[in-house]
């Protein structure tokens, strides 16, 4: 068999391993093996490429792989689980950047192009890759809360400016695709796409970050696929398509969980809350503050308890304290489950990872659709660092900015205890009538300390 056929077979096997690897992720029990299958596929594809007849010099390859592997290992081992969104944003960006560079190298390397449609693929690769790279870097800066990115850059004509940039990028791409390949044209395209990447992500922030990361994840896949078209290489096309589909699905899940359209996240701002009730109207004299001892007594004779964590729990680093609380309750024969809203963390599934790190069993982590029907039979719900995702206004007030957003129906439980520093509003900027409900008690304080005090009070009983 010819060498080139063997290489193609190796690529096919790699693609199959990627698919099987993703399939492994459908259950926590098989997920580790799935990830290893994917890594094996990657190793296979790389080794097959190294023996490719076009590869004649190995110094640069070795240098690049050693530097990249060292940096990647360091990053993967050092990163805190709370910082996973930043890490994924950065990796998205690197994927996009690699696509821009590979397409550029191909353009320089081959004139005339290797095949007639290569120009189209090169421009697509440069366009998507550059938007992904710079967009991801901005997303990284925002998630890492670097000073410069703390608030969006304000400048006039932001929306028309973006539209103009997008138009210019598409025009350049079309020109580049139709005209004979020109490095200068490619450079111009990458430049415009880079600015577009920066300005597109610039205004987005807060609660919308999970959507942006998921979308950039999808873009990084599409960039890889476009590079696959440049090279006429099917393993790149298949992998890129898989990742592109994955990112798109996660984007749509996140949008649905916030009841917002993708266009709204990308171009709109949250609807102003002018018509809604003010904090004074909502809370006026109806807030009941409570203490650790009182909450501990609530659990006396309780049969079922649910804990609803929000990103505030992660900010307070209260995950381990929460796990201790769950264990204490379970040791008294109380059934304990966690209700996880899809946008509870800063990226899809983030809250689950944070709780898994604190050694909460994944069987206790329930999705919104699973946990919602159980709230009427729940004695005590403890909400930690969450606000908008438990705001009943989403169900009742069609004029509210979060109207129609699916929420966790904690208000239907017998008693709700909310751990929060103050009555300050969440991302949506609106008061939460749950806090003033008859069956709700406010347990003010820092998340970690409040939970630890509660555990101590439970043990003293």
């Amino acid at each position: 068999m010819a060498m080139s056929t063997l290489i193609l077979l190796a690529y096919l096997l790699a693609a199959v391993l990627f698919i099987l690897g993703l399939k492994g992720l459908t259950h926590p029990r098989t997920a580790v093996r799935g990830n290893l299958l994917g890594a094996t596929g990657m190793l296979l594809a790389v080794v097959a490429t190294l023996v490719h007849q076009e590869v004649v010099s190995y110094q640069l390859i070795l240098v690049g792989i050693v530097i990249g592997a060292a940096a990647g290992t360091l990053l993967a081992l050092k990163i805190q689980m709370t910082a996973m969104p930043q890490m994924v944003a950065l990796l998205n960006g690197f994927g996009g950047g690699a696509s821009v560079l590979v397409a550029g190298a191909e353009l320089v390397r081959r004139s005339p192009p290797a095949w007639s449609n290569q120009a189209v693929a090169v421009t697509a690769s440069g366009l998507i890759g550059a938007v992904t790279f710079w967009g991801s870097l901005v997303a990284f800066g925002k998630l890492q809360e670097l000073g410069f990115f703390r608030r969006p850059l304000e400048y006039p004509f932001r929306q028309p400016g973006n539209a103009l940039l997008a138009l210019a990028a598409v025009a350049l791409a079309a020109w580049g695709a139709a005209a004979p390949q020109s490095p200068a044209l490619y450079l111009a395209l990458v430049l415009v796409a880079s600015i577009l990447g920066l300005t597109l992500v610039n205004p987005i922030g807060g609660a919308d970050m999970p959507v942006v990361i998921a979308l950039l994840n999808s873009y990084s896949g599409l960039a890889a696929a476009a590079t696959g078209f440049v090279l006429g290489n099917t393993v790149l096309i298949i992998s890129g398509a898989l990742v592109g589909a994955s990112g798109l699905i996660l984007t749509s899940i996140m949008c649905r969980a916030m009841n917002r359209s993708l266009a709204h996240v990308l171009f709109g701002v949250l609807g102003p809350a002018e018509e809604g009730a003010t904090a004074d109207e909502t809370y006026g004299g109806r807030i009941k503050a409570t203490t650790a001892e009182e909450v501990a007594m609530l659990y006396d004779g309780a049969r079922r308890a649910v804990i609803v964590p929000g990103y505030g729990m992660a900010v307070a680093q209260a995950q381990h304290a929460v796990r201790e609380l769950a264990e204490t309750l379970q040791s008294r024969g109380i059934e304990v489950e966690f209700g996880i809203h899809p946008v509870a963390g800063r990226m899809p599934g983030h809250m689950n990872v944070l709780l898994a790190e604190a050694e909460v069993s994944y069987e206790q982590l329930k999705e919104m659709d699973q946990i919602n029907p159980t709230f009427p039979q729940t004695d005590v719900v403890l909400v930690i660092g969450a606000n908008d995702v438990v705001n009943p206004v989403a169900r009742t007030d069609p004029s509210s900015p979060i109207a129609g957003m699916p929420i966790l129906d904690v208000d239907k439980a017998r008693t709700v205890v909310v751990i929060k520093r103050s009555l300050s509003p969440g991302f949506a900027g609106i008061p939460n009538p749950l806090f003033a409900a008859d069956n709700c008690l406010m347990y003010f304080g820092d998340g970690k300390k409040a939970v630890l005090d509660l555990v101590a009070a439970l043990k003293e009983q």
């Binding site: 190298a105 095949w115 099917t234 890129g240 982590l365």
Partner: protein, 108 residues
């Protein structure tokens, strides 16, 4: 864009690379992706993102071809830079996913 695409494919009669075959592979792979990924539980969505990120580092294959072509000059240097970025993507992605998934498997 589609018009240009069509135009480009028409003028390319007799080309060596069958564009339609590649497009077919792309479209079918997207369907496979949708089928599998909709079955992945939300609990594993973060590892899915980091793991799929590692997979999209497959661009490394193209980077190796560029850096190893033996041609001195710009193409090789672009290739080197691409290898570094893609390798961080691949190694960092698979490793951090492994680390995370270990937490889910851990039983007391």
């Amino acid at each position: 864009m589609w018009g240009i695409w069509l135009l480009a494919s028409q003028q390319g009669a007799g080309q060596s690379m069958p564009l339609m075959a590649l497009v077919t592979v792309f479209v079918l792979a997207i369907f496979v992706g949708f089928e599998i990924i909709t079955k992945i539980p939300p609990t594993l969505h973060t590892p899915l993102m980091s793991g799929s990120n590692a997979i999209s580092g497959i661009t490394l294959v193209g980077a190796i071809l560029a850096a190893g072509s033996g041609q001195a000059g710009l193409a090789s240097w672009l290739g080197l830079l691409a290898i570094i970025l893609a390798t961080i993507n691949v190694v960092g992605g698979f490793l951090v996913t492994h680390r995370m998934l270990g937490m889910f498997r851990r039983k007391k």
